[in-house]
Symmetry: none
Subunit: 125 residues, 2 copies
């Protein structure tokens, strides 16, 4: 967390957290790393846990190596499925459009650590 | 820099830098100013220099005067060419789609100052 939430917030409102997480081909953390998920989520809701997400999926191995997908959207992390917009990408994903569906597969309330599955539906050339 | 990097980061991870730079028609800093490049880049990578960029090119002279182009993407500043998404724009660039290619033309490692060329490939109406 690089910016703390506003003092009386129970929903992390105003916080900004930068993330650089492994992108893996499957849910287990030790499955094949295919890239990194880099960006931030910012607490943007006062009455629920709702984050504004700006994220780049940077692929580093496999057929998408060197390409990125860029996501901007709203992540209500305790919802079962969260849909966010693919606003574009680079390389193979140049001029891409689409959306992702995020589902939490594992969550440790003590540390806040989680494994989130992103199904990406991307139209690209 | 409006937000410092996390303490032990050698890649500026967690930093947020706001920029308001002249957009010039050519590489030399004293070439014709056509607008401003306004937005931020955030250190989003822990093992390389990789920034999440959110930027508006605001044109202030010439045929694009009053229009903007909006960019969101990943900028690995030491790569030769960095491709980022044009997510849209305003005025002439309303509903625009496309991408930019950023190339560093001049860089002063002491100050961190740089001149970056942005080739913009934009589909617009």
């Amino acid at each position: 967390m690089i910016q703390k939430a506003v003092s009386n917030s129970s929903t992390s409102f105003g916080s900004i957290t930068m993330t650089d997480n492994a992108l893996t081909s499957d849910v287990p953390v030790n499955s094949t790393v295919v890239g990194q998920s880099q960006g931030f989520y910012a607490g943007a809701a006062q009455r629920e846990l709702g984050f504004l997400m700006a994220m780049n999926f940077a692929f580093k191995t496999g057929k998408y190596n060197g390409s990125t997908i860029t996501i901007l959207g709203r992540n209500t992390v305790f919802s079962k499925v969260r849909e966010m917009t693919v606003v574009g990408g680079s390389g193979i994903f140049r001029l891409a459009r689409g959306y992702v569906e995020a589902r939490t597969k594992w969550f440790d309330p003590k540390t806040g650590d989680a494994t989130v599955e992103y199904n990406c539906y991307v139209l690209h050339y």
